[in-house]
Symmetry: C2
Subunit: 546 residues, 2 copies
């Protein structure tokens, strides 16, 4: 007796390291939920599907693959946005959706949850994923599962699997399993590109590596470390690449993001005569809204999708092979001559009774970080202020820094801590973003996790006020610190002053048994220096009429 | 100087009766938000875009058109699901999304919020709406606005308008305005169909009207009333049609929904020799999961999309013209011989200290309804229990009874009360659905509305337990009655017994200044008789393997 389609799917998820699947049940997916419950995978209920989508995204960023499992339409279409974010920021999330049984769809009846046609959801997810399938054929189902999971791994982007409910327990066909040959670099092209790159690097006065998101996603942090330690070529990082090298490392130049990042890193990178861009996304936010200036004529640019040196390009080179090739090539070792990192935290001196400001909030948080902290920043000043933080470990800073969907951080901490139980998330989230998804603290409470949530409470969408303000930027004030009373667990703190913050952080550090939530009251128009620069650049566009 | 595109759009919304627009701002839509703020339209901030989508849907069901306004991708894709519901249940919602400026998109840069291409969102909304446009051309923008709003009115389904931020203040071209000729019925076809229908009706022993969702949507409640009062042909209603005729009316047969509805209505309708189906959706839930039995050979079936009598069909007949034609035709007036409605509430006798059960909860709520109550039921036993309620006014029962997306009811009450300020919503919502969107009470608090929220707290997804149970059907218990402490307003009640419920309902009736929330504790496996019948039918499908 062959495995059922549902059982095979679970086996393949396990083989890819998935231990947790996030979602909300529904009648079209209940059968698969039951199979999951009986498997070694733990199903994690969130309050809303959106929370499950964000949690799976964070899980994928840390574990290498994430999975969200929902019902048809009323579940699936709720995670269109979170899947779009995973696509945009290269996070390999497997979306599994239940669906009506194949025999129920004959004659196209008006079954509940149907939108226009039975394939409406499938068509939408084709736009949002790199591979999509409907497992409506037992003969091909196993091969289809293999195909889409391989695509998730290859492109580090989301994939979609629709599972009609009458197929869950149908036996599949193991003979048709395809093991597609592993994608490899063309050896001659790789050799030629490496030879050219090594020549340029060795001839350069001040080469520098700019490392970005794909180093995280392809698990190349060790290789990057080896490359910089072997050659002493310093490493700068982009916003999406933040913490790709642990920041205390002496070869760490700092954050390069045009006007948004470190001024030292900006000068260092932009004056380099040989820029080695590894896995870089050339996005507006990553580049400080195009305030960055990178000269392609001095660049070696390698990603999973494209390789170019100066103004010409090479096909069929894998990022990981190129990085390995650089490590093994005869690149001359240099003397390192970098000053200590500019944002290494000084001891923070609390001024009692002094109101918390954004600038000093991040200094104070910076001195609180420890080796097991994973910082998760929502969009807004949570992110821009967070850019200046000095992250200890590698891949210990998560933020939707390109797609920029508000409401990521709280549910992301659920996914992050399940992916890395030894880490403790420090969540930075504005009040506007918290009100979108913050009640996923319910799921965090249910599964006994203990992130520390810092709500930047400035009574509205602070990022937008300096662009164009109005009542539409206000949000109602909540008593965030009392949410533990609703959920029956958790520890809340209301904070106006630096000494109150110090006491709350200290209490949170020793309170391990549940989440802590810190309601940090900030002045309505206060903002970080980085946000100030950003909104000046953005504001000009918002009000433009041409 | 011609109007700007943004100004013209606002004028057209006002002309269609829109007084409130729901949404969340974002940088790509801020300019239009500012224009809205300066207009007579009130912009209503919700916590999350999902809440805005549901609120606009409810507003559309009552007012005739609703509008949700969001930013690009991170806003728009969050309302894919609510727009799908509006499509599936024929609710005319105008989706307005900000977008990058047309000049910003040249060369396809990686601007924040972009998914795959700049038109990804547009392509997705083409699947979810009956008309979609990108206002990227000042010459055609006014005509495009007219075209999509006309489609919303014609089909009573959602439409999509994407507004690049550099177009908001651009002057449009008033000369190209198209006033498409109003769609009319073909006079000869209409006359022939009416003649045939009237002949069948007059020859019948027991004709009955089955009225559904399109009577609500096309504003034909008055016409239906006139038709039944002129002819004394009784009216049964479907689930989506519930309250299309005010239920105390002597011509009201009751709810017809196969095994889900009233047994009297079922016998009456199924033994009729002439069924007049007006604006009916033949969906699974509407028909009690296909436990209904309607014989097309005895049917006159008219909707906005299709007209058929017995087994033949007519083209180009408008629903409203057909109903008017029936009113004006010489249909013989009959003697009415109906018993009083079976679910007219008796005086409810509270048993002190008796735990609340689902069955008696709905009896107790039924006796609480008054002429200004609008019942809004979420999916699950909130809906199935609610079916037995005796609604006073017309179009005073809202529920996503076909698409069945959990989490509709609380944000819907925001939209409903703004559309009809004289009505007071009574929201029936399960604990699972409440945890999805219930914190939109924040928006309800902000705008000073006063719905009464009844949380059916049975510790999980009660609809799913009888189909297939597992830990995935559990939800964490919240202290729902203490949410007012988080929001700084509102009145909470914790309820275990009938006398506690009576006291809370009485207090809620006189507490007009803010919302009330009643946490009604129910036994985990308790359920309404209707849900019991439904889940038995559904359960067989969930576990089927073939």
């Amino acid at each position: 007796m062959s495995d059922s389609i549902g059982t095979y799917l679970i086996q393949r998820l396990l083989a890819h390291g998935i231990q947790h699947v996030f979602g909300v049940p529904g009648d079209f997916v209940l059968g698969f939920n039951k199979l999951l419950e009986e498997s070694p995978i733990q199903f994690i209920n969130t309050c809303d599907e959106q929370g499950a989508g964000f949690a799976a995204d964070a899980y994928a960023r840390l574990q290498g693959l994430g999975c969200v499992c929902v019902t048809y339409s009323v579940g699936g279409l709720k995670i269109a946005n979170t899947t779009a974010q995973a696509f945009a920021e290269k996070s390999p999330v497997v979306v599994i959706s239940g669906a009506p049984g194949t025999t129920e769809c004959i004659k196209n009846p008006l079954l509940h949850h149907k939108v226009r046609n039975f394939d409406t959801q499938f068509k939408i997810f084709q736009e949002l994923t790199v591979a999509a399938t409907v497992l409506d054929n037992p003969r091909t189902a196993f091969a289809e599962i293999d195909r889409v999971l391989a695509a998730a791994n290859r492109y580090k982007r989301p994939v979609y699997i629709e599972l009609p409910r009458d197929m869950v327990n149908k036996p599949g066909n193991p003979d048709l399993q395809t093991s597609s040959p592993p994608e490899i670099s063309d050896p001659d092209t790789l050799a030629e590109a490496l030879k050219e790159a090594v020549g340029l690097i060795n001839a350069a006065q001040q080469p520098v590596i700019l490392a970005d998101v794909e180093i995280h996603r392809f698990g190349l942090q060790d290789a990057l470390l080896q490359l910089t330690e072997t050659t002493n070529i310093p490493v700068a990082e982009t916003i999406l690449g933040k913490s790709v090298l642990n920041e205390p490392h002496p070869n760490h130049v700092g954050l390069y993001a045009g006007a948004l990042g470190s001024e030292f890193a900006r000068q260092y990178v932009e004056s380099s005569d040989c820029l080695i861009l590894l896995g870089v996304f050339l996005t507006d936010l990553n580049l400080g809204l195009f305030t960055a200036h990178l000269d392609p004529k001095r660049s070696i640019y390698v990603t999973s999708e494209k390789t170019s040196i100066q103004l010409h390009s090479y096909d069929q080179i894998r990022l990981q092979d190129f990085v390995q090739g650089l490590i093994q090539a005869k690149i001359q070792r240099r003397e390192l001559n970098l000053p200590p990192s500019s944002h290494r935290p000084l001891k923070f001196e609390v001024v009692p009774n002094q109101a918390v400001t954004i600038a000093r909030l991040f200094e104070q948080l910076n001195s609180f970080l420890s080796d097991d902290t994973i910082v998760i920043a929502d969009v807004g000043d949570a992110l821009f202020g967070g850019l200046g933080m000095f992250i200890h470990g590698r891949t210990r800073f998560l933020s939707p820094a390109y797609y920029a969907s508000l409401g990521f951080a709280v549910p992301a901490s659920l996914g992050a801590q399940l992916a890395e139980p030894s880490a403790r998330p420090l969540v930075l989230v504005g009040d506007g973003a918290f009100q979108m998804t913050g009640m996923e603290l319910s799921a965090i409470a249910r599964y006994g996790l203990n992130p520390i949530i810092v709500v930047l409470n400035n009574q509205g969408y602070g990022t937008e006020r300096p662009m164009l303000d109005g009542k539409f930027n206000d949000v109602l004030n909540w008593q965030y610190s009392r949410i533990p009373e609703i959920l029956g667990t958790g520890c809340g703190f209301e904070i106006h002053t630096e000494d109150e913050l110090a006491a709350a952080l200290s209490a949170s550090r020793s309170h391990l048994e549940s989440f802590c939530i810190l309601d940090v009251h900030l002045e309505k128009h206060d903002m970080s220096a980085a946000l100030n620069r950003l909104t000046q650049a953005l504001g000009e566009r918002v009000v433009t009429t041409s």
